[in-house]
């Protein structure tokens, strides 16, 4: 059953690396994360041996770059017609959905892994808590996964990759913002605490910040996994609706 998932994932992953776009993307990802950390994050001026400024920007970095990775997943196949080939091969829709998603996730994970010089730097300069850093990396991967699942689902509904990209950024921004003080403060004054807590609990930032502080709470991990599962399920439904038209 998983065999086909890997077959699809391998093909998709190769498709990413078949063009220079993948390498350009990885360079931009690594470069931006460096710029954010060392310039905007005042990494040196803080004189603290941790990667808080590095991970602090990941929700925003992923917000722009994850949709760029996910936008082609289905829209490209729909545009070129190869989705017809894919859907008429003896592969279940969920296998194709999962395979494509895993390929995109692996791709982001590779890009993330290539930020290791930052991690080496902070270990060279001081004695950071590497457990916290590993937890934060896990959180970053999970959050990227959630963005990608949203993006994959939206890509399946689009023929144009540009439309898929823009829509995904907007939707992901909403999820990110749901836990942001900007939104919460607007509710905090008058809304019942339950509502505020619910909105806050839906935000990516709240969960990511918890994990990136080194607190690997099962609920935060579960939250991201549930978001991924929900959107992949929606992705399969979108494909099935396509069969009806």
């Amino acid at each position: 059953m998983m065999g086909h998932v890997w077959t699809i994932a391998r093909r998709e992953l190769r498709a990413y690396f078949a063009t220079p776009v993948a390498y350009v993307f990885i360079v931009i990802f690594v470069a931006l994360s460096g710029v954010f950390t060392f310039y905007l994050g005042n990494f040196f001026e803080r004189e603290q041996a941790d990667l808080t400024p590095f991970f602090g920007f990941h929700p925003w970095l992923h917000l722009v770059l994850a949709p760029a990775v996910s936008m082609r997943l289905w829209a490209e196949d729909r545009q070129s017609g190869s989705v017809e080939l894919l859907m008429t091969l003896p592969i279940a829709a969920w296998q194709a959905v999962l395979g494509k998603f895993l390929a995109a996730w692996c791709f982001i994970a590779v890009a993330l892994a290539l930020t290791f010089p930052t991690w080496i730097t902070v270990n060279y300069l001081g004695e950071p808590d590497n457990g916290v850093i590993i937890a934060a990396y896990c959180g970053s991967v999970l959050m990227a996964g959630a963005y990608l699942a949203i993006g994959a689902c939206i890509s399946a509904a689009c023929r144009s990759q540009v439309v898929a990209f823009v829509t995904t950024v907007v939707v992901c921004f909403g999820f990110l913002l749901a836990g942001f003080p900007l939104v919460l403060d607007a509710f905090a004054g008058w809304a019942p605490e339950v509502l505020v807590d619910t909105i806050a609990s839906l935000g990516f930032l709240t969960h990511f910040n918890a994990i990136s502080k080194g607190v690997l709470d099962a609920r935060d991990i579960l939250y991201f996994l549930l978001v991924i599962a929900a959107f992949l399920y929606a992705n399969a439904i979108v494909l099935d609706l396509g069969r009806g038209n």
Binding site: A18, E84, L89, P90, N245
Partner: protein
């Protein structure tokens, strides 16, 4: 065996396919004929499980395409209209991928890949990106994909579209050379193709079957014994 029962596909008020029924037995090479927009591709897509019918059903080897999609899809090879492929792959990587999906392993895998590569003369382009290939080569890569697992049923949507006369001839030879216990369904609007390879012609117009007979018997309906006259009379109502 392929059995379609009152197969329909409606898009809002448009009846792309409007209640067609047919049964195709092993050994038949069927040409699905019709003017552009008659519903050929929609019919093929429903047979391949890509589109769900609005009503009616289609079964391949007893498997319903709507409820037993995967089991049905294992029994056939399908060339979609326009032979869409993944342009960034090479034919070698692409056929490898298809062999994985079709669960071809070991000796049989190597044998089948070697066979289709030879049959469709793909050796010279095996390591070129598909997007750089000519239309003729792309079509042949698409055909190679469809016949890779030596399926008992072959569904080919306009298999010779975009090929030059020599390539057309070769593809027709290929279809004719399929073993006699297979089902081949080709959709086309090229009448000479039907006369050249098909044992049966199903003519569709406006989503309905308007004729279903051997090409010879259909041609005999015209005084001039020409299939194109009969086709025009049946699909447009003009005297042939």
């Amino acid at each position: 065996m392929i059995r379609a029962e009152s197969l329909s596909k409606h898009y809002g008020p448009i009846r792309a396919v409007d209640g067609i029924s047919f049964t195709i037995e092993p050994g038949e090479i069927v040409g699905l004929l019709g003017p552009n927009g008659a519903g050929k591709t929609t019919t093929m897509r429903m047979c391949a499980g890509y589109l769900a019918p609005t009503s009616g059903s289609v079964k391949v080897h007893g498997f319903d395409l709507l409820t037993e999609t995967i089991a049905a899809q294992k029994t056939f090879g399908y060339l979609p209209e326009g032979a869409p492929l993944w342009g960034e792959m090479t034919p070698r990587a692409f056929l490898d991928f298809i062999a994985d999906v079709r669960a071809l392993e070991g000796e049989r895998r190597a044998e089948r890949i070697g066979k289709v590569v030879a049959l469709l003369q793909l050796e010279s382009v095996l390591d070129q990106r598909i997007e750089t290939l000519s239309k003729g080569f792309r079509r042949r890569v698409g055909l190679a994909q469809a016949i890779l697992h030596d399926p008992p049923v072959l569904l080919l949507d306009e298999p010779t579209d975009g090929l030059d006369p020599n390539q057309k001839h070769e593809v027709r030879e290929l279809i004719r050379g399929m073993s006699s216990d297979k089902i081949v369904v080709i959709s086309t609007h090229i009448l000479e193709e039907v006369e050249a390879v098909c044992s049966r012609a199903i003519i569709i117009a406006a989503g309905r079957i308007v004729a279903d007979d051997s090409p010879g018997a259909l041609a005999a309906q015209s005084d001039s014994r020409r299939l194109d006259r009969v086709f025009r009379r049946i699909t447009t109502g003009e005297p042939g």
